[in-house]
Amino acid sequence: MNPFAMNPFAMTPETLILLLLGLPLLAAAGVLVAGKVVTGAQQANIRDGQGVLIGLYTALCAIALFAAMPVGTDITLLTFVPGLSLSFTLEPLGLLFALVAGCLWPIATLYTIGYLRGADEKNQTRFMFFYAVAIHAAMGIALSGNLLTLFVFYEILTFSTYPLVTHKGTEDAKKAGRVYLGILVASSVILLLFGVIAVWVLAGTLDFAAGGILAGKIDAAYVPLLLGLFAFGIGKAALMPLHRWLPAAMVAPTPVSALLHAVAVVKAGVFTVLKVAIYIFGLDFLAESGGSDWLVYVASFSILAASCVALTKTNLKARLAYSTVSQLGYIVLGAALASPLAASGAALHIATHAAGKITLFFCAGAIYVAHHLSDIKDMDGLGRKMPITYLAFAIGALSIIGVPPLGGAWSKFILMGGALDNGHLLVLAVLMVSSLLNLVYLGEFVLRGFFATPSQPDSTVSEAPLACLVPLVVTALLSIALFFGVDLFMLPFSG
Amino acid sequence: MSILLTHWNYFLVIVLMMLGFYAVIARGNMVKKMVGLNIFQTSVFMLYISMGKVGEGTAPILTGEAGTVYSNPLPHVLILTAIVVGVATTAVGYALIIRIQESFGSIEDNELIEMLDDAAEDGAS
């Protein structure tokens, strides 16, 4: 094989699209094959190694595609029903999400390997298989060209992450699985699909188009209702009160949480909200009709309420879960403000939150693997034993809070700009109060880790395994890099 | 009142239909249900045949004489088919009743329901 023929940067966009969709499936198949064909001690290494390699290659493809930014490239795989096809179209937002998912996947896979081995979890083959399928579904969502394609992959994502959530097989895991599936499927089948078909009937098409496809097709009075179907139908965006599945899913192993919160599931949710707002409704149409005003308030409520709940949680993962609910509210808010600036801030937030949150979850998992602790009360003084982990956590936390020089600062700044644009001063206040709350519940953890005295004083450094440590350092650095490289990301959004 | 005299055949059909239908629904004994079903079906036969009657017409069998007015033969043919169906249904129905009697010892609806409710927990056979 000619190595240069495999260079993603030299490939056509169409090829890259197919690769981005197909590579995760290839990895999934590889997991199954390795499980059946290879035996012995090397089985796990081959199975996992091919996953990481394919993941790295996928990341390269995603970077190549994002760098090229071939807006408008379109491939149709098949015609579903007359008038609707399974097709993929490239535009900046989708490419950004694909980039985030593609780059974080290999990192997450590496971490998963370390975690599963470190915590000696069972059924690793099944886990890795569904992990890869979930990434495939996320790619499908990112690159989708019409609402139907997006919906198809959205559902695939729900069902492929279910086995991950219920992985432990305990009664708690089963109950969490029921809540997860129940909320996500019910919302997508009852509300989202309703919205999709309504758009189909109103606009005659489901293809995404710049400026939206609903302008003139629907009475301005009904826009809030239709938007509501989407806002609550996209359960993965965890807009309150449909957020319960997220804390429930914390019963899953931490790599799943990392995947759910940063790489795939919630990002797919808010991405879909943004995409629908920009390419189905159209920001101008939303602004004129005022159809998204109510969403500004609901999202603001979600941001603040979730942060308050986070304060009350002592289980680290639960606290991070509610933090995510709050942060997702930012993105929904960005969509609801119906201005290009706010929307680009929201899009950037997808990337910065992904990097920051995944770092936080990696750290939480590292703590569990190294010391079997999950409650903050037990983690006093742990920072001295796991300095690298805590430092990475601090960096991720600062990004979430929105402090320069971390990437999160930019996305928050642009969002605030978008709010000012429309005169939503209340939103400004909400964002600032939220930052304050973030500081409290995230900062508490870091400060207690470094400065509190532990119940059993013992300052020997016992960090997490390397396979866990490297990823969290990488993503922490990524958060810093996002601050400096923000122009690269925002360039395609100018306009 | 005159309609009763001119259309008495249809009233007869209705009466039979309701009698049969009532027996099917209201009677718990399976044999009585079958009898009711038969009466119900017979009323339908009568409906068809009486609709086929043509004024002064005679039975629809060719006599060879010119100028004979015949009743419409088609309903007769249809009813022959329906009678056969009715006979077959009755046969299957009674076969089932015999099997039920052998298996359950009763052909009364309410007794069967009681027996089945008890057996429902243990599964059956």
Binding site: L78, T79, F80, V81, P82, L148, F151, V152, E155, I156, F159, T166, G169, K174, G177, R178, L181, G182, V185, A186, V189, I190, L191, L193, F194, I197, A198, W200, V201 | F21, V24, M30, K33, L37, F40, Q41, V44, L47, Y48, M51, L74, P75, L78, T81, A82, V85, A88, T89, V92, G93, L96, R99, S103, F104, L112, L116, A119, G123, A124, S125
Partner: protein, 493 residues
């Protein structure tokens, strides 16, 4: 040969039936059944191709032209129904071999296949014929054999006998109502030929006899298609019947009655018949909607899997009824699509749980605990069938839902659309109970070990693949259904 295809479609299983009864060796009876059903399937495909290319085929039986003789008419509407019925018949026969071997006494196998072929012949006849009374004849042929087939489940569970008897009583009442209706139509128009009736009945207008005929015909067919509240016979009959019979009947019998309803209401009375849309249509939509909820909710609390899926069928038939009750081309398209897809989905589900029922005596939540590990292929078939019922994309069930909701939204029936969504989301509850029992639970000690072989899971998987195939490559089916709806609605929207 080619011009006789319409009648051969029915003759193949019909003539094979008595021979199957006479055969001594039961394996030959099955072989004959395979040949007959296979031939029926091939013929149905050939007919579909012919109709797509050349338009409606009219076949005069015995050379007697309409309206004197009985004619068989194959147009776009039944050309799409025939393949699915015969395909299910073929696949179910394939599965019947191992299912029947375990569930029915050896001495009765030859008779079983004879009745089996008669049922199928009756169903194909109902779909093929263009004469209203002929429909009744085939309806009764199919029903009588079905009563006998259901009763054959008595070897395993004696409750099959009262179930079969109730089925007989209610089925005969339904068929008799149909005959009364046809008789009333004959009285008013003088013809039994469907095409001829289609010309004359609309001219009757909004008269009491016409409405009475409509009511009797509809009532009889509602009973046969198990529309709420005339659905009580279905659950015990399919629940206690032998597994192969449940599979065949659940997938085909009620669908054929839906087809006959469509043919009579839209083909004979016509969509423009006065008060059809408001009176009759709204009644059917309401009953269908209630049936959808009743069926789904009953399925959620049901533990016997066959009865559970029978309850689910009532819900799905409710959706078809809603599509019909809309009295629009879109609604009818949706109903036909769902008729087709549901046959495939339910066939797959019943064949899969039949594997369990045949081995463990009954397929219940209890007997499938941990089955996911012992019989993965079979349980995965159940999973996919279940996902199709919920309406997950990439399955045929999604396509059905898409078009049904679209038809509802087009006439601004937003509330009904929302209710349809809610009831289909509720299906998640009973599907997930099954998933959890199969994969997330341990098999209890002492439970019979379940085994599967390619012979047992293949039939179900063929139908699962068809479900997925029509879920992904749905365009041909949708177009065929639209062509079918066009037959009844002309050029109207």
């Amino acid at each position: 040969m080619m011009q006789h295809l319409p009648v051969l479609q029915v003759l193949a299983p019909l003539m094979a039936a008595p021979f199957a009864a006479l055969l001594r060796w039961r394996h030959m009876a099955w072989g004959l059944a395979m040949l007959a059903t296979g031939a029926a399937f091939v013929i149905s495909l050939a007919l579909f191709v012919q109709v797509s290319a050349n338009g409606t085929i009219v076949y005069d039986l015995g050379g007697w032209p309409a309206p004197i003789g009985i004619v068989y008419v194959i147009d776009a509407a039944n050309a799409v129904v025939l393949p699915v019925i015969s395909f299910i018949g073929f696949i179910a026969t394939l599965a019947a071999r191992h299912l029947v071997a375990r569930e029915i006494d050896r001495r009765d196998h030859a008779l079983f296949y004879s009745a089996w072929l008669l049922t199928l012949a009756g169903m194909l006849g109902q779909v093929t014929t263009g004469d209203a009374f002929n429909i009744f004849v085939f309806l009764e042929i199919s029903s009588l054999s079905a009563y006998a087939l259901v009763a054959m489940g008595a070897g395993r569970d004696r409750r099959a006998l009262p179930a079969a008897f109730n089925y007989l009583i209610l089925g005969t009442v339904g068929a008799t109502f149909y005959v009364i209706g046809i008789g009333l139509l004959y009285m008013q128009t003088g013809t039994l030929n469907l095409a001829d009736l289609a010309n004359r009945v609309p001219q009757l207008g909004a008269t009491l006899p016409a409405y009475t005929a409509l009511a009797f015909i509809a009532l009889g067919l509602f009973l046969k298609m198990a529309l709420f509240p005339l659905h009580f016979w279905l659950v015990p009959a399919y629940g206690y019947a032998p597994s192969a019979v449940s599979a065949l009947m659940a997938a085909t019998a009620t669908k054929v009655s839906v087809y006959v309803l469509i043919r009579l209401i839209f083909g004979v009375f016509g969509a423009d018949f006065p008060s059809l849309a408001d009176g009759f249509g709204m009644l059917v939509i309401t009953l269908g909607l209630v049936g959808a909820f009743v069926g789904t909710l009953a399925a959620i609390v049901e533990t016997d899997l066959k009865k559970l899926f029978a309850q689910s069928s009532i819900a799905q038939l409710g959706y078809m009824a809603i599509g019909i009750g809309l009295v629009t081309a879109s609604g009818l398209t949706a109903a036909i699509i769902h008729l087709f897809n549901h046959a495939l989905m339910k066939g797959a589900l019943f064949l899969a749980i039949g594997v369990i029922a045949a081995q463990a005596g009954r397929a219940t939540m209890g007997t499938i605990q941990g089955a996911g590990r012992q019989i993965p292929m079979t349980m995965t078939a159940v999973l996919f069938g279940g996902l199709a019922l919920i309406g997950v994309p990439l399955t045929a069930g999604f396509i059905s839902k898409l078009y049904l909701i679209r038809a509802l939204i087009e006439v601004d029936f937003w509330l009904i659309a929302a209710l349809v969504f809610i009831s289909s989301a509720l299906a998640l509850a009973y599907i997930w109970k099954i998933v959890e029992a199969a994969w997330l639970s341990e098999r209890p000690e002492g439970a019979p070990v379940l085994t599967e072989s390619i012979g047992t899971w293949l039939p179900a998987w063929l139908l699962v693949l068809a479900t997925l195939g029509f879920g992904i490559f749905a365009a041909p089916l949708v177009e065929a259904a639209m062509a079918a709806a066009d037959i009844f609605f002309g050029g109207r929207p």
